[in-house]
Symmetry: C2
């Protein structure tokens, strides 16, 4: 836990697991947890007198042995401008070397531009993984998945109410998000592509799992977004009973706004870890 | 040209034009130009010995009277981390108060998170407009278009090769991008929604214009992406012969890598301005 993130990066054989996947699997095995804690620092919800970076470092330290991943969301840092970006870099650097950092940024642009996003996320910020938007197609994704030791999670079926407006549109009798899933499977030639599959629609998650048996699924919408945890986890898991990262953000971060926020975050993370494990056994 | 960007922001009556649209129309009328210059600072292409911010300020000063808008792309700044974000802020602040700044960032997330992106773009960076991804649906767009005096350009038909993989999929006999166009039209209740419509597919642009007669179209893909300028402009223009922002980035920025880069950028911008105007008259 004391070496730098880079030193401990797992070597990745060609065609095998990404550094992200190796760290994720090791962290999940060690912690017995498929919980991913989202790091969404909202100034209005921080404990009084605690700055963003101190808050996040404290929560990371308090929960690192109970999670398989941390997921900072770029939006909350960008709202604070250059200072926020420095906080984002320091937050990613604050994770123990053996717990992966997935940057939720939903990036995507034409190829030449995406190569600069890839540099920002995987070099400047040194994140292990990132979320990406599929709308631009293959050449928008390629510069990100070219980083073979990192992971790119493609938005497939998101957890919000508006998701159905485009994602559910039927193309040749199948919803658009299934076409995205099929394409993401094809993009997985380096074993480093995953999907974002919201917890609020377990039937959809089950169908996507049939299409993509090997991909990692990031499952947001548990906790503050009130998905049914058990149904979501059981629908999204792979044939080995894993392959998912169940994300909760506010339910852990803001479990208490008092001086006990770290202990409260730890208790909330433990409860969620155990609930996910119980759902998998059920 | 000497007052601050905020002081000179055009007041926007409810239901009328956004501050962005007012500035765009005034700049277009004054310059006789529908050219938007994209600001994509690639360290490998900057003139030797010139730093990013000096380069961009110089190009802005050299071309401001020949354009209707500037469009910095976030990716190129983010690659340089917090320092890049400070350059981005300073670049947006460097535009003359009467020339709008459109941040190309292709943002979009669930509603609560998008509200932080909106704060980042429209408050912290004080951009006049932003590009957004449609994949998350209405609640992902709402926090951005809630800024009634700013403009949100929704990705519709992009200019890259991979665009057709998802954007062209047929839903009820019509390509997905037309469904996005129809929805964007519905989102335009405050007169502050536009579309990104690539220059490489003029037939598509013409169909989208029929669906959205009043929206502003940002048309990338001219110049380095080699769209047919005349066909693109004629297809995308509105009934009044305007309503478009024709973007060129590298063709202007990197017209010369020598000490004459500002004059070369100015000459390239003038040539493009005149070519766009000729296309509209043809």
């Amino acid at each position: 836990m004391t070496s730098s993130r880079t030193e401990s990066a797992a070597g990745t054989a060609a065609g095998a697991r990404s550094r992200f996947r190796a760290k994720y699997e090791a962290a999940a095995a060690r912690s017995g947890s498929l919980l991913c804690v989202g790091l969404d620092p909202d100034p209005a919800q921080l404990p009084p007198g605690i700055d963003c970076l101190t808050f996040l470092r404290t929560v990371i330290e308090a929960t690192a042995d109970l999670v398989c991943c941390f997921k900072p969301n770029a939006a909350f840092f960008e709202a604070d401008g250059a200072a926020g970006w420095e906080d984002l870099r320091a937050t990613i650097a604050a994770a123990p070397a053996d717990v992966p950092m997935l940057l939720d940024a939903k990036r995507g642009d034409v190829g030449h531009t995406s190569s600069f996003y890839a540099r920002a996320v995987f070099e400047t910020l040194d994140a292990d993984a990132v979320t990406v938007s599929p709308y631009l197609g293959s050449d928008g994704i390629e510069p990100l998945r070219a980083y073979a030791d990192r992971h790119s999670f493609v938005l497939c079926r998101t957890s919000n109410a508006g998701a159905r407006e485009f994602q559910d549109l039927l193309v040749d009798g199948r919803p658009l998000y299934e076409h995205v899933a099929v394409r993401a499977q094809a993009w997985n030639t380096r074993g480093n592509v995953g999907l974002v599959v919201g917890a609020t629609y377990p039937e959809e998650a089950a169908r996507i799992r049939l299409l993509c048996p090997e991909l990692l699924f990031l499952v947001p919408g548990v906790g503050a977004q009130q998905g049914d945890l058990q149904a979501a986890v059981r629908a999204a898991r792979d044939a080995h009973g894993g392959g998912v990262l169940v994300n909760a953000s506010r339910a852990v971060l803001y479990a208490s706004r008092g001086a006990d926020y770290a202990q409260a975050a730890r208790a909330a993370a433990r409860t969620l870890r155990d609930a996910i494990a119980a759902a998998l056994r059920a």
